[in-house]
């Protein structure tokens, strides 16, 4: 790392309608450094980098690259300035090979014959230099998420970028894959590249970054060398003064030593030999046997797309399994209607909140009672008691800190984080024996995540059961009593708390079974 700034952002402002996303943020990126951009959800990290990459226009402010003032209008401009970005969601063509995906949109030597040998050599060379092991001839569809991410990084490297922006790159990686990614990043920096590493995970920036900038609510709080700062300082900078860190679950020093679960009771949820085969005949869930006992939080870990969505939908009664039985509190509920399950005390927080969980064209109050609209106290079964609904809704808005004009405000006006809060409020609004929660804290800021964790712990004390499916391994290790690891629709192992180790779980997540 030397002191020459390769990119300088000065006083960048950006607002979406009335929402100020960035309020005068400055940042300088030095040559050959890994710069951590840290902050909770809604802090403006991705927005800032999208402006640098030309996806958004800034309202005001300046961008300097190598000391020159530049005007970046599109990603094409950014790439010309040797800036590349890897987003959380990749834009790739599944039926093309790795190589074809990488060269797509660039000049190739033999454009009519598509003889890509030269390009293949170049890509191969990049793979070796930076330790990114990818088979360039493989079709993209067949590759796991971690490899697809490498393809995305290679795409940027192939275009000769000197600045690489990575947006939450570790989200879908196993701990092992995270380690290899970090090694590759180190190699790039050695060759003089600069890397911006966007994340909300403190431990990651502590592990890899040279310098760290912290954003909160669209403002830069501080920029400092990692070696100059303690973890305490970062935590305080990230969450602000309002949050009580002492009581927080999220920043708890020791793991929450919760009361041990008595597994002699009847489980609240029991999946027996659960099978799900898609219409096309593809097995999605294979012979799943898990039980969640009173007062237990059972975590489900796995790389996204290994059957978590299907497992959640089966457990929540949305999809009827093609084989096996589902028992709830000593009763066979296989194929029971969702309405019946809700009446029996099931709550569900779906993963895809926009598609599966929210009514954008209905108001907040209507959203808050969805699924419970047939039950007391909202309704007598025929008519809805809107007076009670509105009164309850106002309480939920207060308690769950939902930022909205009121219960009659259209749902479409809410931001992603607030929609998530509506879903959380709805799930916790009724006393429920069983909660199926899929990525419940996605899109929430740290204070709200902490609130959800406290709510989950309260459930334990009331001896309710929770099936917590999450992509966030830290979250699972913090909250769960046991963790089941799912791989290609199969539960490979269920680990007790004493065996929680992120590398053990990581191995299982990539399908490697422990040889005991």
């Amino acid at each position: 790392m030397d002191d020459e700034a390769i990119v300088e952002l000065r006083d960048i402002r950006k607002s979406f309608d009335a929402n100020v996303a960035l309020d005068g943020v400055s940042l300088s990126l030095l040559r050959a450094e890994i710069h951590g951009l840290l902050g909770g959800n809604g802090a403006g990290k991705t927005t800032l980098m999208n402006i640098l990459y030309g996806l958004y226009r800034k309202d005001s402010g300046e961008i300097l690259i190598r000391g020159q003032k530049v005007n970046i209008q599109s990603p094409r401009d950014a790439i010309q300035h040797k800036i590349g970005m890897v987003h959380q969601h990749f834009l790739q063509i599944g039926s093309y090979t790795v190589l074809e995906n990488i060269v797509l949109g660039t000049e190739v030597a033999h454009r009519f014959t598509m003889n890509l040998e030269e390009e293949a050599r170049k890509v191969q060379n990049l793979c070796e230099r930076f330790g990114l092991q990818v088979d360039v001839k493989a079709t993209l569809d067949t590759l796991p998420i971690g490899t697809r991410q490498k393809v995305e990084i290679l795409k940027a490297l192939y275009r000769g970028v000197e600045v690489l922006i990575l947006d939450e790159p570790t989200t879908n990686l196993t701990p092992q894959e995270v380690d290899t990614l970090f090694e590759s990043l180190r190699e790039m920096v050695k060759e003089g590249m600069s890397i911006v590493f966007i994340t909300h995970k403190l431990r990651e920036v502590m592990g890899i970054c040279d310098r760290i900038t912290i954003l909160r609510e669209g403002r830069k709080i501080t920029s400092m060398l990692r070696s100059d700062a303690s973890e305490e300082l970062f935590v305080r900078a990230m969450v602000g003064e309002d949050m009580n860190i002492e009581k927080s679950v999220f920043f708890a020093r020791e793991t929450y030593a919760t009361a041990s679960v008595d597994r002699t009771f009847t489980p609240i949820l029991e999946l027996k030999n659960l099978q799900l085969v898609s219409k096309e005949g593809v097995p999605l869930l294979k012979d799943i046997n898990v039980a969640v006992y009173p007062g237990e939080i059972l975590g489900v870990a796995g790389v996204a797309g290994n059957g978590q969505h299907e497992l959640a939908e089966c457990a929540a009664g949305v999809v009827r399994p093609t084989g096996g039985r589902i028992w709830m509190d000593g009763e066979d509920v296989t194929g029971a209607s969702i309405a019946d399950l809700a009446a029996k005390g099931l709550a569900y927080i779906p993963e895809d909140r926009l598609h599966d969980g929210f009514l954008p064209r209905a108001n907040v109050a209507q959203n808050l009672i969805l699924g419970y609209h047939r039950l007391q106290p909202y309704s007598d079964g025929r008519f809805i008691d809107w007076k009670t609904v509105f009164q309850k809704s106002r309480e939920f808005i207060q308690e769950y800190n939902i930022k909205t004009g009121g219960p009659q405000d259209p749902g479409g006006n809410l931001s992603g984080g607030n929609i998530q809060r509506v879903m959380i409020a709805r799930a916790f609004s009724m006393p429920c024996k069983l909660l199926v929660a899929h990525n419940p804290t996605r899109g929430l800021d740290i204070a709200s995540m902490d609130f959800v964790y406290r709510k989950l712990l309260e459930r334990k004390n009331r001896r309710n059961a929770t099936l917590l499916i999450s992509e966030d391994l830290d979250e699972l290790m913090l909250m769960s009593d046991r963790i089941a690891v799912i791989y290609r629709g199969q539960i490979l192992d269920v680990l007790e708390r004493s065996r929680f180790d992120k590398y053990t779980i990581g191995r299982l997540m990539s399908g490697i079974r422990e040889v005991a």
């Binding site: 949305v318 598609h355 599966d356 954008p360 209905a362 969805l370 309704s379 008519f383 809805i384």
Partner: protein, 335 residues
Amino acid sequence: MMPVRRIIPYLIAIAASFAAAGIFIAAMGFDVGRAYATILFTSFRTPNGFVQTLLKFIPLTLQALAFTVPLSAGKFNIGGEGQMIVGAIGAAAVGILFPELPIYLLVPLVILAGVLAGALWGLIPAWLLYRFNINEILTTVLLNFVSFALIDIAATGPWRDPAAGHPTTIPISASGYLPMLIREPPLHSGLILAVLVVAAVYIFTSRTVSGYELVATGANPGAAAVFGINVRRMFVLSLVMAGAIAGLSGAIEVAGVQHRLIVGLQSNFLVLGLIIGLIAKGNNLAVPFVAFFIAVLEVGASAMQRTLMIPVEMVFIVEALVLLFVLLSDVVRRR
């Protein structure tokens, strides 16, 4: 405060569309002031004008509701006129077949026959949607054409009135006529039925559990299904309700206005119903108010043509512009 602020863009849209249409009227060499005075005040100058307006208001409101009720569930019913025609056929059939029944039996039966026939005509696209997932826009539009053939058959078949110069059936029994609210100018009691339907639809969609499920289905069928609402049943329910409402308007037309089945009784109510429903932005409660406004324009337009010789189509331009400006005001507000 809230309702006032919501009405303002409508008023601006209406003013803007009148101003824009005024340019056309002036360009055609007519007196804009007199034309608009005729359009706006004919309905309120004479008792007859007001009754004419109410008589237009009834089918317009019902047609618009036949569009907006399924719209609440996210479905598009473009078959309101077909359902109206089939409802009218059902009503006329009962009125002709049972002439000896007393008035207190025959009137309800005629109305009921219209409602059921319309509901049945709504059930066909609903079932095709439920069973085979066939797009309801397509089926409802196409069933309109089937209904045109049906009314031709009914009006030229055994019930044909040979004395009429136009395909028409013989009159229904006089004991099947809707009772009159006012004798001169004649206003039939279909108005009460229309108002009752408006109230019922409002209470259903805003107060009942089924109504909530209907609205939730329209808001996001995916999420509604995940939270235990049978969305396909909601689609069926909404289309059958729409058919019943449109069928009622057909029955009222037969029992209240024509007293027989006449080919062409559907007029252009379907298109006006769609316009009303869209101006009301699918809000069931706003529908009667918009429908009344459009009825005023329609009655004023015929008067304008009679007295000032301005073509009645001028009013279509105004109506279309109101819709355009209302839609535009949405876009402007979003900026």
